[in-house]
């Protein structure tokens, strides 16, 4: 990353954190309840989730996958394999933006062949990230089935993709910006915020 890009990213971050136009749509306890509900739904709909593998998409999806794994362990005493799946190299917009740094792909021991993979991400928007994730998954193995869990579905799909588990359906306008904050990555703690998009590079990341 160039110095300029870094300064831009920092400026964008500061703008969003101090921007009064951002309003909280889910607070910490609402995020907590949504995750607990998704964990129950996964158990229910997969009849015990025996062969399920949770794969989070970095960075926030990865933290959410870890949390879902913990919830499921607390409810059912079942320790699901949890991993991460970086989709950067499979994105269709790579050439439209400056080169991105890579995230981590960590496939749990046992792989994904014949398993039920639950992809976990923070925000579902255009669906392009999930398309990339499906391609990335195809290069790693052949799951029995793939499902998708997201904390927020903000609409505006550009591809025929839908989520199986949704924390919150959030009607938004294209020009609006959805920001997910988690204690693992953000100092302010868990929250989902909605506001007007800031025309800078760094703020875009949160909407993907």
């Amino acid at each position: 990353m160039t110095d300029k890009a870094r300064t831009d990213a920092v400026a964008a971050l500061e703008a969003t954190t101090t921007n009064p136009a951002m309003r909280v749509v889910l607070d910490a306890s609402a995020v907590n309840r949504a995750l607990t509900r998704i964990a129950h739904e996964i158990l229910e709909r997969t009849q015990g989730a025996d062969d399920a593998v949770l794969l989070g998409i970095p960075t926030r999806g990865a933290h959410l996958a870890t949390r879902l794994g913990e919830r499921i362990a607390a409810v059912e005493g079942l320790k699901l394999p949890v991993g991460t799946l970086d989709v950067t190299m499979y994105r269709d917009d790579l050439r439209l933006k400056p080169t991105r740094a890579l995230g981590r792909t960590e496939i749990p021991n046992g792989g994904v062949d014949g398993k039920l993979v639950v992809l976990v991400d923070d925000v579902l928007f255009s669906g392009r990230t999930i398309r990339a994730a499906l391609d990335a998954l195809g290069d790693i193995g052949r799951p029995r089935a793939v499902q998708l869990a997201v904390l927020v579905d903000r609409g505006h799909r550009e591809l025929p993709i839908r989520a199986d588990y949704v924390g919150k359906n959030l009607p938004t306008a294209q020009r609006e910006n959805v920001q997910v904050r988690l204690t693992e990555t953000d100092e302010e703690g868990d929250a989902v915020l909605l506001g007007v998009k800031i025309a800078a590079a760094g703020a875009k990341e949160a909407t993907q």
Binding site: M89, Y90, P98, T99, R100, A101, D139, I140, G141
Partner: protein, 319 residues
């Protein structure tokens, strides 16, 4: 605005760390059943080799193919270069064919810089060794190997031993390792120590034995007979006795220290077979890491709308 990787002196500590971190992530696809990423689909990488090479060419070819780029291999032998075609005309041919990146090895120091800055082509240029000047991807893979063996490079002591005068590997490593915070010591007979070595960001010594016990890593350089136009040392036997790494000398190294060699090796001259095949030697590891590091360089130069590393066209890249 395409950018290039011509010299490790152009890389900031952030750039170098980004390349090494990216390489670390890319190394993991080597364990997958499908060792391929679609990232550079539809891009063309030309391997332009005016000098013989096994490791570097195959490594770049593998790296480009793992990223799904199309690869054209071009070596001076068996091409129009042997009929007297100039670098410029070769470059214009490549430009007409629409190469996105040119990986060049040239016998002339500055060959890669000339190709990048003469305005003949618009592709990104990666220096894969130019004469006795630089070989940046070799230094990057050495740094990657050191980092994975020793944890961090900060404050680590690295000895580079042998034919420093003719070594582009040594030059690239001195810049890169010092940028990353390591302390480099060059060891060579006075005849093989480069002119004005005092101005390099490293220390130097004419004796190997006093330096060895302090090192975290020792990098043995190949004695480059093909570049030696005069007698630089009396006999090979004497060179090997004073500057070669054999079992007795290896025992003087600290317990954790590693032995590196960029290859190809002259077994029995600068390094004994016993040392080269020992558990401390990282020589085959270096080759494997080379693919990951070159994938990282190609991805960071070609992956996005603008590259994340390297020098810009309008800058003077040479140092």
């Amino acid at each position: 605005m395409k950018r290039h990787l011509l010299s490790t002196a152009d890389l900031s500590a952030d750039d170098a760390t980004l390349i090494l971190d990216t390489a670390g992530e890319l190394a993991r696809i080597a364990d997958r059943p499908i060792k391929k990423l679609p990232t550079l689909r539809g891009r063309t990488v030309v391997n332009l080799f005016f000098e013989d090479s096994t490791r570097t060419r195959i490594s770049f070819e593998t790296a480009a193919k793992r990223l799904s780029a199309d690869v054209i291999n071009f070596s001076a032998k068996g091409s129009s270069v042997s009929k007297g075609e100039s670098l410029k005309d070769t470059a214009l041919t490549l430009e007409a064919m629409g190469a996105d990146a040119v990986v060049i090895r040239h016998w002339a120091s500055g060959g890669a810089h000339r190709l990048a800055h003469a305005g003949w082509i618009h592709s990104a240029v990666v220096n894969a060794g130019d004469g006795t000047h630089e070989h940046p991807t070799q230094a990057l893979l050495d740094a990657y190997t050191l980092r994975s063996r020793l944890g961090s490079l900060e404050g680590r002591r690295v000895g580079i031993v042998g034919d420093v005068l003719h070594s582009r590997v040594a030059r690239s490593n001195v810049h890169l390792l010092s940028t990353l915070g390591a302390e480099v010591t060059l060891v060579a007979p006075p005849t093989l120590m480069p002119f004005a070595v005092e101005s390099w960001p490293c220390s130097y010594s004419y004796e190997l034995d006093p330096v060895l016990p302090k090192l975290d890593a020792v990098m043995m350089l190949r004695v480059q007979r093909e570049r030696m136009d005069q007698a630089f040392f009396p006999t090979e036997r004497e060179y090997s006795r004073r500057y070669g790494l054999h079992a007795n000398r290896m025992a003087a190294l600290p317990e954790h220290a590693v032995v590196m060699h960029p290859g190809p090796m002259n077994r029995g001259l600068e390094i004994s077979a016993e040392v080269a095949d020992s558990a401390r030697s990282t020589i085959t590891e270096q080759v494997a890491n080379g693919v990951s590091v070159r994938m990282a360089v190609l991805y960071l130069l070609l992956g996005g709308s603008e590259p994340a590393i390297g020098t810009e066209n309008d800058e003077g890249g040479a140092r």
